[in-house]
């Protein structure tokens, strides 16, 4: 292939040795978490097809929980088997990496998904309709909002139990996303977890127009961004002649000279690399919600059913940051000096932008959306460190953050008035006096977001900033600190509202949840406090997991 002077003929290449194509060798054991989840998703589809409507809910819930738990057990098994450290390897013909970060993130995603499924399955919050307990999802998504078909569906007690397989598919994609070891797998995984999410966004039971609008926006912008990602992949492929991470990295490092003169002559190889890299980066930054690719976040977070928002906010971020880390640390480390300044800029505007715009928000869900943008900025600061510490700090932060987010959104589902969830902040006034416990729990999450010591938010923030400072990004730390201060303002505003304002007479009530949501919130609080007070074990875990295989 190094006959630089000639242009290869595809036909001859293909025709030369068709029998040489090897049968792919797949290490099923090492891929078992993903396979279990995807398999369960298919089972879920079958359940939808064959099991009577009345029993689907229980069946789906059972399948999902068992699958996620089994997959998590598989991850633990792999980690215990040393696949995270000494036996880290590239599996499935180089498509999937099984290494520390991948297992850590997969474990996190699976746990998050498990807890999220609890909130998906909650059926005690909405008032009973025609004798049926209902969840947060539309009775029949295809029916026109407010139309006869919808009324009929509601009356019949339909529920969209498809959400469970959809979540499982999304989780499957998310599991692959951070462990993808070539760009094609990356793209496919992205689509696999994005498409179910688009649909999930459209499935809200209340305020369906908003939900559908969120889905459209998310879908169109998501597709738009994945087109960029794909074009970036194309350019990188053009540059390196391969889409495998290590292959590209070798070319970037100059270990392999794989230059096509036709390209070199016309565009210059580095242009392909840089533009392609930037576009792939953009695709990932979109999923992360970094400024200026963040604008979908508030709208989608607001419109989507709250359990979905929680799941999305937590799990997508984990997956996307995992992929970003791998891309930057495995594929483009040789390009550090090019992407670091750019990422500095992105991190700064993300931290500041998210924090500043959040100050004037009036809707809890939008507020949390902007908060998630600001947090993306903080995590980016850790990503930029480009040290092993940087990786482990980001892993830790992601784990800490995802549970706080999940818990916070779970609390949001509880605060309700006649029109469903009461997300406007003014309605939260005096919540602390009506339901001190719920308000206190929410305050804990807010304080964790704000990074107050003894919460996981502080430990995470400290880890990330420490890594950044060690990695020579001191100014970034200072800006991070400033935007933390700004961010603190709006978290505190909510606390003020809950505790120090008089309750409104027409204010919302707090629904008493089933053990499902209760346990989700309890897990959130527990993780928040444990990671805040005694984070050492998890930091150890994260730092053991902090080495990428290549």
């Amino acid at each position: 292939m190094t006959h630089a002077a000639t242009v290869h003929s595809l036909w001859t290449t293909a025709a030369a040795a068709p029998d040489k194509i090897p049968s792919p060798h797949v290490e099923y054991g090492q891929l078992s978490p993903t396979l279990i989840v995807l398999g369960a998703a298919i089972v879920g589809v079958l359940v939808e097809a064959f099991i009577p409507r009345r029993q689907r809910y229980v069946a789906q819930l059972f399948v999902s929980v068992v699958a996620l738990a089994a997959a998590f057990a598989a991850v633990i098994g792999l980690a215990a088997g040393g696949y995270g450290t000494s036996k880290a390897r590239v599996a499935a013909m180089g498509a999937i990496a099984v290494d520390g970060p991948a297992l850590f993130l997969q474990g996190t995603i699976l746990l998050v998904a498990l807890v999220a499924v609890f909130t998906f399955a909650e059926r005690r919050l909405d008032p009973v309709v025609h004798g049926n307990r209902v969840d947060s999802f539309a009775a029949q998504a295809a029916a026109v909002p407010g139309g006869d078909a919808e009324k009929a569906a509601v009356k019949a007690g339909f529920t969209t139990t498809e959400v469970f397989p959809l979540v499982l598919f999304a989780v499957g994609g998310m599991l692959v996303f951070p462990s993808a070891n070539d760009l094609l797998t990356l793209f496919v995984a992205l689509e696999v977890f994005s498409l179910p999410l688009y649909i999930l966004c459209a499935l809200a039971r209340r305020q369906r127009t908003l939900s559908q609008e969120a889905a459209v926006k998310y879908f169109l912008l998501g597709a738009f961004s994945s087109a960029f990602l794909l074009f970036g992949i194309a350019l990188l492929y053009g540059y390196a002649g391969t889409v495998s991470y290590s292959g590209i990295a070798d070319v970037v490092d100059g270990q392999v000279r794989n230059v096509t003169p036709a390209l070199a002559g016309t565009m210059g190889n580095d242009a392909l690399l840089l533009i392609g890299g930037a576009m792939v980066l953009m695709g990932l930054l979109f999923k992360i919600g970094a400024v200026p690719f963040h604008m979908w976040t508030p709208d989608v977070y607001q419109g989507a059913p709250t359990p979905v928002t929680g799941f999305m906010a937590a799990a997508t971020k984990v997956a996307a940051f995992g992929a970003l880390l791998r891309l930057l640390y495995v594929v483009l480390p040789g390009l550090r000096w090019d992407w670091r300044p750019v990422m500095w800029g992105v991190a700064i505007v993300t931290m500041l932008g998210g924090a500043i715009v959040a100050v004037t928000q009036t809707d809890v869900k939008r507020l949390l959306a902007y908060s998630s943008i600001a947090h993306a900025g903080f995590i980016l600061a850790g990503v930029i460190a480009t040290t092993p510490d940087g990786i482990s700090s980001v892993l830790f932060y992601l784990a800490a953050y995802s549970f706080v987010t999940l818990g916070a959104f779970a609390v949001v589902t509880l605060v309700r008035d006649a029109g469903g969830e009461a997300t406007h902040l003014s309605k939260w006034a005096g919540l602390g006096r009506r339901s001190p416990l719920v308000a206190a729990v929410f305050a804990v999450f807010l304080l964790a977001f704000a990074g107050i010591p003894l919460t996981s938010g502080f430990a995470g923030k400290f880890a990330v900033f420490k890594a950044a400072a060690d990695g020579g990004a001191g100014p970034l730390v200072v800006i991070g600190v400033i935007s933390s201060a700004i961010a603190a303002f709006f978290y505190i505003r909510v606390i003020v509202l809950m505790f120090f304002s008089e309750p409104r007479t027409d204010g919302p009530s707090v629904a008493v949840p089933s053990p499902l949501t209760s346990s989700a919130i309890a897990i959130g609080v527990a993780v928040t406090l444990v990671l805040g007070v005694a984070p050492q074990y998890f930091l150890d875990l994260a730092s053991q997991a902090g080495v990428f295989v290549r």
Binding site: K217, L221, L274, M282, V291, F293, V346, F489
Partner: protein
């Protein structure tokens, strides 16, 4: 014996604690407890005095370290007492006059429901004043110094329901605080210069420290003395302090506390000896004040304020004497003691008059009282004679020596100081005669008050007259006794040192001159107030009179120069704090909010706008990446 020194302070302190914390239970007998304890401390003082007399001239000082007070690094302050002849003099004066005034107050405050507390404050004062004169270092002296200030504050404002009393008390404290700043700076200077601020080491090394430092210390001590002793420019509080009950004026604002400045300067003699510039400042302050106070005294119709002006003036004499150095220290103290007798007597007399006249203080509404209150008249009259320096009485002996010493300063300075002192003597004679004439001679001028109660002047009860008599005896004989065989000089010389000045005038000439000016003063007053009836309302008077009535515009000056600008400054700062300092903070918050509001508008809900942002973002990302490579 040493242990008794501590007791001297502790006894009245115990009294104060008892009376102030004792509650209503002690209301009935509080005044007796207070008086007995004051007398007890006088008795202890007397025992110590007898003991001291029994020892040789240079072995008289006693020292008693009670405990280590503040030990921090090289800074070591002890609670330790030193009783030498100078302190002894003060101890006797304070406890003696103090006891008398306690007795007087039993009668004077009889109808006050808060009498117990009054005695508590008086005891507190005694304790603080004794601490002041017994301390063996400047810091402990400072405690007493502020302690007497506190007692003075409490007593001036004793009738707190009167706003004027409360204001006067506050003013006294604050003006004194200005002086205290001087004392504290002086102590700090001593510490940085000598590493200590105990009397003995500081004073014995004062000569070695370099004139600059010592001058600075001296000037700061002078500032302190000015505050406490109501000397120009910190004199303004004394007149107002007359708002307090009269026994307080007698004890604190005439006999003892206000003389603390003189004590301080005399005690620090070695420092001033080594700092001629500071000494010059001291004599200047003394000379100015003695005239200032005298002039103010001439114009006041309020009997207590007239006496207050006189006090200021007399202390001016003492300060002048103390500023003269070793020539004058002894005479300063001697005048201090005699002044303690006659001025306390005068105030008690004035109190007695007021007691009789329904608390009327305007002398123009007195007149002819000698018939109604013979004892008061006689004792007051003896005090009067003593203060103007009538030959043979106490004031004569002490004041004459000061005038002599002033001339002995030598040179032009000596003439100026001597002249000022002489002039002061003349004015003293004038205003004291005026007081005497207005109060006790002439026609009765009192009228019924608004409610129709006509005063019925009567002699005061014996609890009040006896102290007056005792003090009158002191006013008559103390000076002569002290001067007998130069007894006082010999008594104090080991502590203060003494030198005879080289006077350009003979002692006889000075005495003669003094007599002449004295007669002139008396004659003038007689011409003005004795010969013709006194109008009941004051005539407008000359510019000087009007100024003098307003304390020579001192309050007006303070008002314009300090109070008003201070108020503007404070108000301005309140505004600045709110608008500027806090404004920056709130402004930052507001601008973040504003920025947020504006950035928020970008989120307009149109998916296409979001796409533009992503598209633009990607373009920037690509451009930046390429640019980084290019750079």
């Amino acid at each position: 014996m040493e242990n008794l020194i501590g007791l001297l302070v502790a006894v009245p302190l115990l009294g104060a604690a008892l009376l102030l914390c004792g509650g209503r239970r002690l209301d009935g007998k509080g005044h007796y407890i207070g008086t007995v304890l004051a007398a007890a401390s006088f008795a202890i003082g007397a025992v110590l005095f007898a003991d001291m007399l029994g020892r040789g001239e240079h072995d008289r000082a006693l020292h008693s370290k009670v405990f280590s007070w503040i030990p921090v690094g090289g800074f070591r302050a002890d609670v330790a007492f030193q009783l030498d002849q100078l302190s002894m003099t003060f101890v006797l004066l304070i406890t003696g006059v103090g006891t008398l005034i306690h007795i007087y107050s039993i009668g004077y405050m009889e109808h006050d429901e808060r009498r117990r507390r009054f005695f508590g404050y008086l005891n507190l004062f005694l304790a603080a004043m004794l601490l002041l004169v017994l301390a063996d270092n400047y810091l402990l002296l400072y405690v007493g110094w502020e302690g007497v200030g506190l007692a003075s504050y409490l007593l001036i404002g004793f009738w707190q329901h009167k706003p004027s009393a409360a204001t006067a008390a506050k003013k006294a404290f604050i003006v004194n605080r200005v002086g205290d700043v001087g004392l504290s700076i002086a102590i700090m200077l001593m510490f940085t210069t000598f590493g200590t601020f105990a009397f003995a080491p500081v004073l014995s090394n004062a000569g070695d420290a370099g004139e600059g430092k010592v001058t600075a210390i001296g000037l700061m001590l002078l500032l302190a003395a000015c505050g406490k002793s109501a000397q120009v420019p910190l004199q303004s509080w004394l007149g107002d302090a007359m708002e307090g009950p009269t026994p307080v004026s007698a004890l604190i604002h005439a006999a003892t506390m206000v003389t603390a400045g003189v004590y301080l300067i005399t005690r620090s003699g070695a420092i001033f000896n080594a700092a001629p510039d500071a000494q010059a400042a001291v004599v200047a302050v003394g000379a100015v004040t003695l005239l200032f106070g005298a002039i103010v005294g001439c114009a006041k119709d309020d009997i207590k304020k007239a006496l207050a002006g006189s006090t200021m003036s007399q202390i001016g004499y003492m300060i002048l004497a103390a500023g003269l150095g070793p020539i004058g220290y002894v005479f300063a103290i001697m005048h201090l003691v005699t002044h303690g007798f006659f001025k306390a007597g005068l105030f008690l007399g004035a109190g007695s008059v007021m007691h009789a006249m329904n608390d009327e203080v305007d002398m123009r509404k007195y007149g002819g009282l000698r018939k109604y209150m013979p004892v008061t008249f006689v004792t007051f009259g003896l005090g009067y004679l003593a203060i103007i320096g009538f030959p043979g009485l106490s004031g004569f002996w002490s004041k004459d020596k000061i005038i002599e010493a002033a001339f002995a300063k030598g040179g032009t300075e000596g003439w100026i100081l001597g002249g000022a002192a002489l002039l002061g003597a003349a004015i003293t004679a004038y205003y004291m005669t005026r007081v005497m004439l207005l109060t006790f001679f002439g026609e009765k001028r009192w009228v019924p008050d608004e409610e129709g109660h006509e005063p019925h002047p009567h002699e005061s009860p014996s609890s009040m007259t006896i102290p007056m008599i005792v003090l009158a005896v002191g006013s008559v004989f103390a000076g002569g006794l002290f001067s007998l065989n130069d007894a006082f000089l010999k008594w104090l010389e080991p502590v203060t040192g003494h030198s005879h000045g080289d006077s350009p005038l003979s002692a006889a000439a000075v005495t003669g001159g003094t007599m002449v000016v004295l007669l002139i003063g008396v004659a003038l007053a007689w011409a003005q107030y004795g010969r013709r009836p006194v109008p009941r309302t004051a005539p407008r008077g000359s510019l000087l009179t009007r100024a003098a009535r307003r304390d020579l515009l001192q309050d007006d000056f303070n008002h314009v120069a300090l109070v008003k600008p201070g108020q503007y400054l404070t108000r301005g700062l309140v505004y600045v704090d709110h608008k500027l300092v806090d404004g920056v903070v709130n402004g930052t918050a507001a601008s973040v909010g504003g920025l947020s509001g504006r950035l928020r508008k970008l989120q307009n809900g149109y998916a296409r706008t979001y796409a533009v942002s992503m598209f633009g973002g990607t373009a920037v990302l690509i451009a930046a990446t390429l640019l980084m490579r290019a750079v």
